[in-house]
């Protein structure tokens, strides 16, 4: 099976999963005990039962579940996810403005995680069972155990309030400006810490395992410098194990974005989701949950493709 066919096969496998994702999303929210009409007219005592029924029919809430799902999906495919009841804004407009903020944060988190984890993982594997390895293990334990919201609060406390390197609230400037890069640091570090800790351990164990293989002995016997052996031969093979956890880590970063955006008041989709949950904005909850699911499915797909690039055996399944 060639590479192209492999990708095609993976792409086709994604379709039923996306379908399932949309069903779970819709089912989750459809279980709501509350009634959106109640929310809309809650403040207004002059709304009669007939008005309620009319609003209900206008919104299509009187139709059976599967019809509602069908409408939601057809509209969604055309980019229409309804409106936010409280502000009358289009959900799709909110998604479009918030999405880049979350993506920027997520990418920063990933880059931070990789920058920390890969060198540390290599170092720990090369110095296996020596002091450096134990220290890195301890750091990883810290990174995994620390709750990200508390880490964020502590960073604010130390770097924004005590040292005064940042102002507590990021100024609102266009996302793609150099000053925003500076303000991405604290939330980015917060979001990337857990991923970095996990990745560090995975790099270490996969490198340590690869280093026992015959090809490493062969490379050394050829007289290659140790540096080349590690960085060229071992590293490439250990990166395969990174791709196997990439989707898992992306899930962690996405979940982290919800919390971290609230801590740092970062105007992304995560903060929007929390606001939607507090305000019970069903359309917005639906859309953001759906996009989270889609993002992870895509991340998974990319990880699979990266795996196939790094390990060509996969393509000949």
């Amino acid at each position: 099976m060639g590479f192209r066919r492999f990708i095609l096969k993976r792409l086709l496998a994604v379709v039923p999963i996306l379908f399932g994702v949309s069903i779970i999303t819709f089912a989750l929210v459809y279980l709501t005990p509350g009634d959106p009409v109640d929310l809309m007219v809650g403040m207004n005592p002059h709304v009669s039962a007939a008005d309620r029924a009319r609003i209900r029919a206008d919104l299509g809430l009187d139709a059976p579940v599967y019809v509602q799902y069908y409408r939601w999906m057809i509209n969604g495919l055309q980019g229409d996810f309804g409106i936010v009841y409280a502000s009358n804004r289009e959900v799709s407009e909110i998604i479009v403005t918030r999405l880049p903020e979350t993506v920027a944060l997520g990418i920063f988190g990933w880059v931070f995680a990789l920058l920390i984890a890969i060198p540390t993982g290599i170092y720990a594997a090369v110095n296996k069972d020596r002091a450096g390895d134990h220290v890195s293990r301890f750091i990883a334990l810290f990174g995994i155990s620390i709750p990200n919201f508390w880490l964020g609060l502590m960073l604010i406390l130390v770097f924004a309030l005590w040292l005064d390197w940042w102002s507590v609230l990021a100024p609102r400037e266009p996302l793609y400006s150099t000053s925003m890069l500076w303000y991405l640091i604290l939330p980015g570090v917060t979001i990337g810490t857990a991923a970095s800790a996990i990745l560090m351990r995975i790099m270490r164990s996969s490198m340590a395992e690869e280093m026992n293989k015959d090809y490493v002995t062969a490379a050394r016997a050829k007289g290659l410098p140790e540096r080349t052996v590690i960085l060229k031969h071992v590293l490439r093979n250990s990166l395969i194990s990174v791709t196997t956890v990439a989707a898992f880590l992306t899930a962690g970063i996405l979940a982290g974005s919800v919390v971290v955006e609230v801590v740092f008041n970062w105007p992304g989709l995560g903060r929007e989701l929390v606001n939607a949950v507090v305000g019970r904005e069903v359309n917005l909850i639906l859309a953001i949950t759906l996009f989270t699911g889609i993002a992870l499915v895509i991340a998974n797909l990319l990880a699979d493709i990266a795996y196939a690039v790094l390990d060509p055996r996969i393509r000949y399944d």
Binding site: W150, L153, T244, A255
Partner: protein, 347 residues
Amino acid sequence: MSTQRGRIRITGFDPQAVEDRDPLSEWTDYEGTETEGRWVRAARNFRRNRVAMFGLVVVLLMAFVAAFSRPVEVWGVVVQPFSLAPYDPRTILYLQPDYAHVGRYDPPSLAHPMGTDGSGRDLFSRVLVGGRYSVSIGFIVVTITATVGIVYGSISGYYGGIVDEVMMRILDVIFAFPGLVLALVLVAMLGGGYWQLVAAFTIFGWASYGRLIRGEILKVKENEYVMAAKALGARDRSVIFRHIVPNAITPVIVQASLSVGTVVIGVAALGFLGIGFEPGTPEWGTMLDQTLETLVQGPGGRIPWWATIYPGLAIFLFVMAMNLVGDGINDALDAQEDVAMTQGGGG
């Protein structure tokens, strides 16, 4: 074998490590010489591991403190009369005649070792009681999800074929969402509160155990003793739960012990976001929710660092201790190195 190398699988845990395990190692190494059960051996290994024992002591101590911090009443009957916490965690002290001098955000002092919070409540008492919520939810959720996951994964792995295919595709869909986002949406639907949070983390939380044990079962079911049991006419149910599951359960136990910390962080995170519990509940995450506002709005003059540091430190300490225990169990059971690390954390 159906799990030959190089076959790609959707990730969610580290399949490489599971794959690299020699499925028969346990069996051949100890055959003949073994006089004690593997659980006895594992317990002995665990006791020898000082770091893990330290973690266990911290976990037990924190659980003990949470249980005995304030009296416990069940349906009006006092079942636990002790009270380690000096003040009631919900009492706003300056409203009490005896404590009128206590202010909001009083710094740590002898009377209030961790200071007071933004409403003038004793932070030390609140931190002691705080473990009751997230910690107990953590253990309850892990027990339920691991059990459900074991049953689901066992059925899927044992029967294979179309049953397996369908059950695993369902898992793929669940894995398309981060656990915390699902829990968040579920809490939005169910409302906050103790059992609502248990439900929010349970409804989809079993999925990772299901996938984990299925992988193990695919290997274990190839063993001769399984065929022997079938040949002797054992029913499927007894083959699965008496012969296969006990031999496939090790990684699940490891993951369960590491997941307690993840759930504790998740519960505290929902508390922090202000949707897990009523405001003012003495729960670690909820306590931090209040301090965020203070930090952001810029407290006048001094910064009440104690209100931010102590509740979070309690979560951190508990989760770290629990992860040490999980690592220790991992080592004691000889499960794969570091598969453990991929399961903890997050949130």
